[in-house]
Symmetry: C2
Subunit: 438 residues, 2 copies
């Protein structure tokens, strides 16, 4: 069997990692797969900045077209990122009947349905284990390991930047801005942290995983997204008092093809396995009708962990090539004809528990008026804590509710915000707690 | 494509679960795989006890030979367990060129090398995801997801019975015997709990996973095994004071083909992700040179979680059949020619931290004599705690050590046990703590 020829597009952090791994573990990979994985090209506009790798003559090039048009290239690894040139190159590679491996969650979440169709039509793979959760084998687990299950729900900590920041606020009580600055200084957050801290990166991953889990088209547009920039040390402290921690979660449920998919900070009880996932680590719990709950945990980003996931896709494709089978597992978990277009339930229709923090003037009767409004909307209060008293100012009133409908909570809060005795904006954080009402 | 025909041997708990799952999720599986998985036979000597399933006419039979000899059967699912008739049937199925799926860790750990050779020679699969860790996708993760990694070590909680018992002792302070009785009453432990509580079930899984991870033959004989029957509430309580919990671990390391593999109770720090794996749950951390540490977590046993794992193997084989590729991934992770025969390092040669509890007469000079003996063997004491005083009796002296060689610790303890002032047998528990010496 001749070697499998690989061309990498984009030699940034992950591209460099994949090149290193292919070279350093070449013999290991060959001894397991039975054929050499030959790194024929690494293409990047910048071929001058040192990457700490010694490429063989002719490998490190600046022209991506050379990779896309070389008939010897079997697998193109797209690690450019973004949705512009990466999309063009991916399409061209697929049309040239080259398998494509990528970590590009933004591109898949936005244009995955068409790219998957193009790949299928051309008889090649479009593989993206590295797009969701770094080295955690979440794509493979949903597509293959849990294939016998009706997947009922999954909940993930899918963004290491946010988890690092929340861990830091939680452990040190520092405000969001300081925690973000440290995350940037340590390389856990990008200079422009918008996609991460506002939850969009998690939403990209959620859109991909929901499609795989439920046999639906990728549907990023319908996903409700909130980030963590409003999370305060005070709310984290109150959460702890109630036996919860706060995580940015990507949450998805499927009951009879009514799909929930949302990204937001949430309180989870400390005995939830996700509660102990700290710093920049990622994890996901997946609930199947047969498996019960399983969890995967690992580095969600970083050069070598992401490269490890890219390699798992490369090896899978190499094994398909060697054993002569194409498209052995449907790219989106289900064959195209069996993929449904499913609208995601609007967030106003979800039912969950709520933590509500009001800044109230310290006057008699405030609690009575607030609880009256909640009752009017059918919201059942689980606990109320009035935290200290302050003269001529506001005091925090913290409440938790039993399971309530989001729209009722939002409407009640709008009415509460009109009260003279509630001068500041109220904070709500959803509580994800299966035992919430017991 | 015609349906894939499946015959189950053994209709106990897991066999019943697999039959149920194949029937209840038949349409789901067909929509994902593209072909029906037809349950043609379920063979068990006892066809009279109700299983809560309505089989079609002719499916539930008492003659296993009918399954093994039916030319239409593609996949035989061996769920008989044990090493006698299960081995005979497995061999016959493989020789009849039927793929075999199993959950039988005892058989694989003991006779897996030969069974894998037989399967390979006959061009069929021998698949055993369900043998290790129930629904956790650990076999697939090592064989496929981490294929690009040099796996450096893994540590697993692989026996739900032991983990349930240790959790119970830890939370309620009850003695081992009471915890075992409750585990039996709740169905978490078998009437004869020997294989579970003495660590042999964990050792079976460890032998299988070490082979997959390191490209070595399955080597059960060399694995050092200790169970949990000597663990007392007192030691768990001391562990907690030092910031540890006690788990029955299957531990394996590979440094340049020097392999450690051992099963024993160990103290792990509370910030180790395995420390929060409670009750009957299983988990495994795997350290790869690229991936860093990943963890899998899930139900390690039970009817439907195990059935979920069996289904993942059945689906993989069905996909191979449909796409016309045989033996796409080597059964033991590496092709036969690349599998090494590696001796496991004797436990006397390992280096780790130790917790030592001595029952000492409450006399002056005991500690001096004990620490003198430890010093003589080059063992460095990290902390000493003398817990309370008791007149005319023994008091516990609890010590932790820095990293030491097992043989030195055992020799020192033998010498200590000869002291008149140490009238009772000393307890040692290994401390698995990467930060132990910092």
């Amino acid at each position: 069997m001749k070697d499998i020829n690989i061309g990498i597009l984009g030699c940034g952090i992950v591209g460099t990692g994949v090149a290193k791994l292919l070279m350093e573990n070449h013999e290991l990979l060959k001894s397991r797969i039975g054929t050499g994985l030959n790194l024929k090209y690494v293409a990047d506009l910048d071929t001058h900045t040192p990457r700490g790798i010694t490429f063989k003559e002719g490998v490190f090039i600046s022209d991506a077209e050379q990779v896309l048009n070389d008939p010897d290239i079997d697998i193109v690894v797209e690690l450019i990122g973004g949705k512009t040139i990466a999309q063009t190159f991916t399409l061209k590679a697929l049309e040239n009947k080259k398998h494509v491996v990528t970590a590009n969650k933004a591109l898949i979440a936005s244009h995955g349905n068409e790219l998957v169709k193009t790949a299928t039509a051309n008889g090649v793979e479009y593989a993206f284990e590295a797009s969701c959760g770094g080295c955690m084998p979440v794509v493979k687990s949903i597509r293959e390991s849990l294939v016998g299950n009706r997947i009922e729900s999954f909940t993930g900590i899918l963004n290491g930047t946010c988890n690092y920041i929340l861990t830091k606020i939680s452990k040190e009580g520092c405000p969001f801005g300081d925690a973000l600055k440290e995350a940037q200084a340590k390389g856990y957050a990008e200079a422009d942290p918008f996609l991460d801290v506002e939850g969009h990166d998690s939403a990209h991953k959620l859109a991909i995983l929901a499609a795989l889990a439920y046999g639906m088209e990728i549907n990023l547009g319908d996903i409700h997204v909130e980030g963590i920039s409003n999370i305060t040390p005070m709310d984290i402290e109150f959460a702890r008092e109630f036996g919860y921690c706060i995580k940015l979660l990507a949450i998805s449920k499927n009951e009879d093809d009514t799909v929930e998919a949302r990204v937001h900070p949430a309180m989870i009880p400390l005995d939830n396995p996700l509660a102990h996932v700290d710093k920049a680590m990622n994890a996901i719990t997946i609930d199947g009708d047969a498996s019960g709950q399983t969890m995967l945990y690992g580095a969600g980003a970083g050069m070598m962990p992401t490269a490890s996931a890219v390699l798992s896709d490369i090896a899978d494709i190499a094994r398909n090539i060697i054993s002569g089978c194409g498209q052995r597992v449907p790219i989106l978990s289900y064959p195209g004809d069996n993929i449904k277009k499913i609208a995601v339930k609007p967030v106003s229709d979800i039912n969950t528990g709520y933590y509500i923090r009001l800044a109230a003037l310290d006057q008699p009767g405030v609690l009575s008026r607030v609880s009256g409004i909640l009752a009017e909307y059918g919201i059942s209060i689980k606990s109320v804590h009035q935290k200290g008293r302050r003269a001529n100012g506001t005091v925090p009133i913290v409440m938790t509710t039993h399971i309530a409908r989001e729209k009722d909570v939002q409407d009640a809060l709008a009415k509460i915000s009109n009260l003279d005795s509630i001068p500041e904006k109220s904070i709500i954080i959803r509580i994800e707690d299966k035992l919430n009402d017991q």
